[in-house]
């Protein structure tokens, strides 16, 4: 690692996470003083972006090679008051909360108090959104049945495809002009609307060029003042690059990285899309700029190092309330994809793949996240190189099944080429890169729904009838009747959630279009329609199921004890749950230790996982959304299994009230007592191809990687799971003893990164309950 990189990396690691008012102030000034009220909303939004990019501070760090910060300096994180407004209390909480905190300066607080809050109070998108939701939606939301992603963050969740590595903003403006010329004389009632959309896109494209030129100007000034000859030349070259890209397509390696970085900043400045943005198949995109000796390998490595640091400088925007709980992390989920297959279906692993894997290992940073796409066509060496990094125990890269992803996307109706150009983003979400708007709408608490079902639609925590009356649990004469009632509850809540989401999609389409993001994703330009309004080629809305292990074990326990063995009546079981097992300690031991559990390749237990999955799938899949696409499901939790556990009472699997639920499709923590292969067999019983992603966590202690044969064993474990159509698997490699020490002496373990669920995080930044859960997981692996 070059000294320059060491210095920049250290700076990035040590930079304080701050909430900064710069963007909020600029956007407030724009709407207060500069808003052309005669312009349509898309143009207003484009002008707002232009205003920010023309007026924000330009930061160029000492010895940087890739330039551009979303805030005035690294980790100075903006807010988006047009989406949701932080109150002064929120700022105090953010400033003082022990985990994932953001320092708020006196200056920022004053800006909020005097300017930002007075202007936006009652006028944010969040205010409008909440006022549109039905009483049924609100009751279920408050009961903890589901969350809503778009409450504090904009839809986004998309990935750059090939196009933008071959085109510049000027090319996109020309494309817009072509479409304008084509539709100008159309008689369609939508023609004016379309013209406005394209005008807005052109303004946004020009705004990014201006932003890059402002960097060039500053670089030129720095160059003329620079004494050191080498740095002077560097600064001049960087200025030249900023005058070339993103206006034009990049031609060199350095240009390509800077080009992407400006585009990335454009997306995350325009709004705060959930899952920032993502260069996607980076090894494929960069290879043309690297192959046949276009750049020296070490120079390329240094530039990649600098590129990595840029991601790490950009924490996820400060989240509050339920949103903070469901995704409690600084990570903003830019997931770098490597490997997989090319558009023609052939093995895509190349020299750049291996260089990127080395960079991941060398940088050892929280951001960006990284993954390997493993197809049956990829060589084992590729997996071995990934294991080389995984064994170092910072949770990256995660491992994905390309062949499953392609099948998933094909099932949803994508073309084979678009499917092969796709991959996974965020935690584990499958998508067609560059052509799809796939918006995650919120987590769905399957375990809570079972609890509500057992109480005939009533939620004991919020004391409301939140679901339909599907019968007193004691009245069910068979397990099948119970499953039938549970299915009705799932369907009801899925419908309520989807009705809400259709309104939310409409709200974003009309009030908060994203002309800049629309430039990037096909076919928004040729459709002359916004990304948020269904302009993309594919438009998918996902609901993420949470707690599959917990709900499965709860159902299995009811089937086993109440209906099959008849060792306790339903009333008796409900009584034990009501009392949170107080006075039922022995019974609880039986539930935990003497009851069949998901994760052991036991069909008796796994059948309930398949049933639940199929009911959830049936309730959601293929229902039309508001953008001309459909709703789909995936199975991932981020950190929401903690929040969902907190709002769910005691469950029939012996879990006490408030304890976290199982994560992803992993078994309940500690319930898999058989073997890693049994976990994979159980997890593969649900049909992954019908999802847009599932998340499976396997924990291994470092000792699993000591032995020479371990790589080939783990490789065959991965290949076996993928042969069963498993979508994703991730490994956590850390000893429990280390974690305990880190909990006691956080100061000594500042760089300790662990895999949480679909992403990695600093152990120190996790809440104590989540820390404990990870310790429990790890110990389990050591037994």
């Amino acid at each position: 690692m070059k000294d320059r990189v060491k210095e920049l990396r250290k700076q990035s690691l040590e930079a304080e996470n701050r909430l900064h008012h710069e963007r909020a102030m600029l956007v407030t000034r724009f709407y207060r003083d500069e808003l052309p009220s005669y312009e349509p909303v898309p143009v207003q939004r484009a002008l707002a972006l232009k205003y920010i990019l023309e007026n924000k501070e330009i930061y160029i760090g000492h010895n940087e090679l890739i330039v551009g910060e979303r805030g005035p300096s690294p980790k100075a994180t903006p807010t988006y008051p047009e989406i949701s407004l932080h109150s002064l209390d929120d700022l105090d909480i953010l400033d003082s909360r022990p985990k994932v905190s953001f320092t708020v300066s006196e200056e920022t607080r004053n800006a909020y108090k005097e300017t930002i809050i007075p202007f936006w109070k009652g006028k944010t998108n969040r205010d409008k959104l909440m006022s549109l939701m039905s009483p049924a939606w609100i009751r279920a939301y408050e009961a903890g049945v589901y969350t809503e992603f778009q409450e504090q963050r904009a839809p986004g969740h998309t990935v750059l495809g090939k196009k933008l590595w071959e085109k510049g903003m000027l090319d996109l403006i020309a494309e817009c002009d072509d479409v304008l010329a084509r539709i100008e004389n159309d008689d369609s009632p939508h023609t004016n609307e379309k013209i406005d959309q394209l005008r807005a896109m052109k303004i946004a494209a020009s705004a990014l060029i201006t932003y890059a030129e402002r960097h060039a100007e500053k670089l030129e000034k720095l160059a003329s003042a620079e004494k050191d000859k080498r740095r002077k030349d560097e600064l001049k070259e960087m200025a030249r690059i900023c005058r070339t890209v993103p206006a034009n397509a990049p031609s060199g390696f350095h240009e390509a990285l800077q080009h992407y970085w400006f585009i990335h900043l454009g997306v995350i400045t325009e709004l705060n899309p959930w899952d920032s943005f993502n260069p996607g198949r980076l090894d494929q995109h960069l290879m043309p700029f690297y192959s046949s000796g276009k750049i020296d390998k070490e120079k390329a490595r240094e530039l990649l190092h600098c590129f990595w640091i840029k991601f790490n400088n950009h924490p996820a925007p400060p989240k509050m309330g339920v949103t903070a709980q469901e995704s409690n992390t600084y990570t903003d989920f830019a997931l770098i994809n490597t490997g997989g297959v090319k558009e023609d279906g052939s093995d895509a692993v190349n020299e750049m793949t291996y260089l990127i894997l080395e960079v991941i290992k060398e940088m050892r940073l929280l951001q960006p996240s990284s993954m390997v796409q493993v197809s049956k066509k990829n060589p084992d060496r590729f997996i071995h190189k990934a294991l080389d990094i995984i064994r170092t125990g910072f949770g990256q890269p995660s491992v994905f099944n390309t062949d499953a992803i392609i099948q998933e996307l094909l099932r949803q109706g994508k073309s084979i080429e678009d499917a092969r150009n796709g991959g996974a983003s965020g935690c584990v979400e499958a998508g067609a890169f560059g052509t799809e708007s796939y918006i995650l709408t919120g987590y769905f608490n399957l375990t809570k729904i079972l609890e509500i079902c057992l109480n005939n639609g009533y939620d004991k925590r919020t004391k409301h009838q939140v679901g339909p009356k599907t019968g007193e649990a004691g009245s069910f004469s068979s397990f099948e009747e119970l499953i039938g009632a549970f299915g009705k509850q799932i369907k009801y809540f899925a419908d309520v959630k989807m009705e809400g989401n259709k309104k939310i999609e409409h709200l974003y389409a009309t009030q908060l279009p994203v002309p800049f993001l629309s430039l990037l994703i096909d076919d928004c330009i040729s459709n002359a329609r916004d990304y948020n309004a269904g302009g993309a080629r594919y438009n998918t809305s996902y609901i993420q199921g949470v707690g599959l292990g917990s709900v499965t074990d709860s159902l299995t326990s009811l089937r086993y004890h109440v209906f099959d063995k008849k060792s306790i009546s339903m009333e008796g079981m409900l009584e034990a749950l009501d009392r949170n097992f107080s006075g039922y300690e022995e019974f609880r031991e039986e539930l935990v230790y003497k009851t069949p559990k998901y994760g052991n390749d036991d069909d008796y237990a796994d059948r309930q996982a398949v049933d639940t999955f199929n009911m959830f799938f049936g309730a959601v899949d293929a229902i039309p959304n508001h953008r001309g696409g459909t709703f789909r499901i995936n199975m991932l939790p981020t950190t929401c299994h903690i929040y969902f556990g907190a709002v769910t009472g005691a469950t029939p699997d012996g879990r006490k009230s408030g304890i976290p639920l199982s994560e992803g499709i992993s078994p309940v923590q500690g319930a898999d007592s058989n073997s890693p292969t049994a976990v994979l067999k159980s997890a593969a019983k649900i049909d992954h191809i019908k999802t847009g992603g599932t998340l499976l966590n396997q924990k291994f202690t470092p000792s699993f990687f000591d032995d020479e044969e371990s790589y080939s064993k783990l490789t065959s474990l991965i290949r076996s799971y993928f042969r069963m159509d498993g979508h994703h698997i991730q490994f956590n490699v850390i000893s429990a003893a280390t974690l305990r020490k880190a909990q006691k002496h956080p100061e000594k373990y500042r760089d300790l990164i662990v895999r949480v669920a679909g992403y990695s995080d600093y152990f120190n930044d996790l809440g104590e309950d989540l820390q404990n859960e990870i310790i429990l997981r790890t110990e389990h692996g050591e037994e």
């Binding site: 300690e585 609880r588 031991e589 935990v592 230790y593 390749d601 292969t677 049994a678 067999k681 032995d707 020479e708 080939s712 064993k713 065959s716 474990l717 290949r719 076996s720 042969r723 069963m724």
Partner: protein
Amino acid sequence: MRSLNGHRHEITETVGKWYSADEVMEVILKDRLFYEESGGGVTFSGGEPMLQEEFLKEMLQLCKHNEIQTAVDTSGSVETEVFKAVSGKADLLLYDIKTSDEAVHIENTGSDNKLILKNLEWVKENGPDVIIRIPVIPGVNNNNEEMQRIRDILVTLRKRVKRVDLLPYHRLGRQKFENLGMTRRAGIKGEITSVEIKGFMEVFSQGGFPVKKGG
């Protein structure tokens, strides 16, 4: 049994369960895909699995029928007729050799090593392939001379020996002894260092055998 709060309970735990050959086969077949991907199979171990001759033969037969590779982990200290009957049906033997020295063998295991060496002789002529496993025990066989003598035996059946595994003595069985209410047998003191193991590995690799620590 460990309870929820980590305290031990004063109850007896039944370990083990009766299985028929077909039932065992059902469990084995569940993981077929993993054997195929890894090139692995099933290992029958014990105790001494050859003491359950009929059951073991039936299992080996069933595995062969289902195209699943088999290995038998044996001490070799089994009547030769039984040994032949079982070994003839297995794809691989994991064969323990503790020492070449009869007296040392008697002193530490209570029986001589005549059968072990005789059965190995049979393997030389008839197969199957073997992986030789040598537990390296402080004060018993942890010296170069002993390792060289074992190597000299192996040289006589070179083409059958696929690998030599050196298993350093460890104390992980402590908990089991306690659970069974037994105090640990005295006599073995000290540890095997990794430097020591490296030296012994050298003995076998110089003899042209692939060798591995652990296994």
